[in-house]
Amino acid sequence: MINGNLKATYAADEQVLNNAYKRAFVYGMALLCAALPFVANDYIILVAAQMGIILIAVVGVNVVIGYTGLLSLGHAAFIAIGAYSIPILHTLFASLGVPEGIMPFLAIPLAVAISALVGIVVGLPSLRVKGLYLAVATLSANFIVIFLIELDAMAPYTGGFNGINTPEANLLGWQLDTQREMFALIAALAFVTILGVQNLFRTRVGRAFIAIRERDYSAEVLGISLLRYKLLSFAISAACCGLAGALFAYFYARILPEQFELVLSLQLVAALIVGGMGRTMGPVFGVIIVVMVPELLKYSFGIIAGGSADVAALRAPVQEIVFGALIIIFLMFEPLGITQIVDRGFRSLNRWPFARG
């Protein structure tokens, strides 16, 4: 919450970007992302594209954990579904004679839809069980989805253990065969996803989610159908993860089942906790931290190690400890995440020099 944010008209109050900081940040980020493919080096593009993919997924996780209050530890499964849909759909389209230039326009929405459907199935236990039971149910779903992908009977479609080569995106003849071009697509879709989800919470549906988070029985008494909205919440979040998965498949040339295991699910939740649950900017800050910290560690270890394998071997454990410590420290000392810290900063900036804090 930022104070000193006076609104004189209803129109001003209803804006998505309802204060100067948000406007500045969003337009600034849009400019930066637009400029990045032209100025940045390959390395920055690589990291930025990875961030974009994870960001879309974390925005989805935010819908179900942050806004609806359903604890899920299995969202990597939806990313896997989205990712595996792409090569399978492309093979299908090729056999139907669909021209390559329009395949992504069909494949991405379909991949998203399939993920959403699976999301509804995985969300079913959320009707009967809550909290912890749901966490374990989704975690189980994650294990089962990976198992099904790896299954020998599925190998003709998914490549089984060996993974599967993924096609390149071809948008109406524009072949996105470099990471730079893919980054443009990822950044554009990430913006659309964030704004779309932000907008969702200005509608009846979004408010219903928040009501369920606060107290589900009370929400039901108020006439909110738990069945419909819990499943809808799962579907929306799974759809976002499906989109992230589809982009993942286009971005890399091959996907393996082990890329979508529990570790990824935990990473998504960690990004959300660090960034701030139930806030639009939470996923953005969280993803920046979760992706940048390992890169920074890698960089600093590279300087310290100077090629020595003994020091390099310490990096992975240290990275794991830092990752876990981030979750623990934020939960203990700043449960509302970085968004809260940023808000506090802006607040004191606004009030300065009249008051502090």
Binding site: L46, G163, A253, E258, A309, A312, A316
Partner: protein
């Protein structure tokens, strides 16, 4: 002054550098970079940590011999934790930061090599060796830039099955880890066994580590197999499986492939749990390091190890895993030097062409004799048997060529 292979190479490299200097001047960086991902942590950390020193030794050795056409080479190793995605990230990072100076890469797993294969095209491609002997990689039509520094796992299974058939065996069990590495030769092995008239009585997949040993051993006991082929293990599981079977009094003869044939592990098992690996057999593409009789290259390594690795396990003995990495490095360096000698740029296409043209090359003792790169691999190997008394793997067959 004698002209041996080493000094000849160094001088010819220097000479070609002088001759080719004007044409190369533009494209040539101040140093070349040879990147590598190793499993310094994770399930195969023991192997990764033993392999890592090979790069330090290779850097010194190759630069003393004149680098690549006079340009020094630098090795950069990073940790992957045996996670293919991490290794891919390492590779992409190396590409983005080193650019054209990166001339070759060393991968750490079957999974990574398969994951990276479709990424290797245009200016993203580099010559790439690895710790893996996966059969899919030895296919220059599909994967022109990847090569094996020995026979594929399928070839190794062929050698073992042939050996079993020669000994008059009739039933065989396959126990493998549930990874790409473990599953690689199984389908082919089943076909091959059928051709040889061997019956596959058990196909058992296990976890790559922390496997449920009693269950697997009881399954093996129930199957009544005479021979058991183990695939897809490095330090763990296979010794426990054999230990369990021996404590049970099973007469099954166990056999392994390259990664399950390390003396350090076998000795450790013997020391800690008793002599039950006695008689364990397996296929190995290389000579063991103690078999240095006519291996001048091994002598060079031995002299360098004494100096560089004082107080480490590598001081007096170079594990087979390290030997494999050295071999892969030497093959890549030979391809790079050949390309530089021809005055060509060290692009992936040029170096891959030189690599596949290597023929009848005496590598100084790694293998039984002069070798050629055919179909992206070096198809040779022989069967060794472990003796718990002396702690040595001794050859029990001639060199097979596959």
């Amino acid at each position: 002054m004698t002209l041996n292979r080493r000094s000849f190479l160094a001088r010819s490299a220097a000479a070609s550098a002088v001759l080719a200097a004007p044409t190369l001047l533009k494209a040539q960086p101040a140093e070349y970079v040879f990147g590598a991902s190793l499993p310094l942590t994770g399930p195969f950390a023991t192997a990764g940590q033993l392999v890592a020193p090979a790069f330090a030794m290779a850097q010194r050795l190759i630069n003393e011999e004149g680098g690549i056409g006079g340009v020094p080479i630098r090795f950069v190793t990073e940790d992957s934790g045996y996670i293919p995605q991490n290794a891919l990230a390492n590779y992409q990072r190396a590409l983005a930061t080193e650019g054209d100076a990166l001339v070759a890469y060393f991968g750490d797993s079957t999974g990574f090599m398969k994951l990276v294969a479709p990424e290797l095209k245009g200016d993203q491609a580099r010559l790439m060796g690895s710790t893996s002997f996966a059969s899919e990689l030895a296919n220059p039509e599909v994967n022109p830039y990847q090569y094996l520094a020995g026979p594929s796992y399928e070839d190794q299974f062929d050698i073992l099955l042939q050996n079993i058939a020669n000994q008059g065996g009739s039933t065989v069990a396959f126990i493998f880890s549930n990874t790409e590495f473990g599953r690689d030769p199984i389908e082919h092995g089943k076909k091959r066994a059928e051709e040889l008239g061997l019956k596959v009585v058990l196909e058992e997949s296990t976890k790559p580590q922390g496997a449920d040993i009693p269950t697997h051993v009881t399954k093996l006991a129930q199957s009544g197999a005479e021979y058991c082929l183990l695939q897809g293990y490095v330090t763990g599981v296979w010794p426990q499986l054999i230990g369990g079977a021996r404590q049970f009094g099973l007469p099954t003869k166990f056999m392994g492939t390259f990664w399950g044939m390390e003396k350090i592990i076998a000795d450790r098992v013997t020391e800690q749990a008793g002599p039950f690996l006695d008689g364990y057999q397996g296929v190995m593409p290389y000579r063991y390091f103690y078999d240095r009789a006519d291996a001048p290259r091994y002598e060079t390594f031995a002299a360098l190890s004494k100096e560089m690795f004082v107080g480490t396990p590598l001081e007096n003995y170079m594990p087979t895993w390290t030997i494999q990495t050295m071999c892969a490095i030497e093959i890549a360096v030979r391809a790079l030097r050949d390309t530089a000698e021809k005055g060509l740029e060290l692009t992936a296409d040029n170096t891959a062409e030189s690599l596949n043209a290597i023929s009848d090359w005496d590598m100084g003792g790694y293998f039984g004799g002069p070798v050629s790169v055919e179909g992206g691999k070096i198809g040779t190997g022989r069967v060794y048997t472990y003796g718990a008394e002396n702690g040595l793997f001794t050859p029990s067959s001639d060199w097979f060529n596959v």
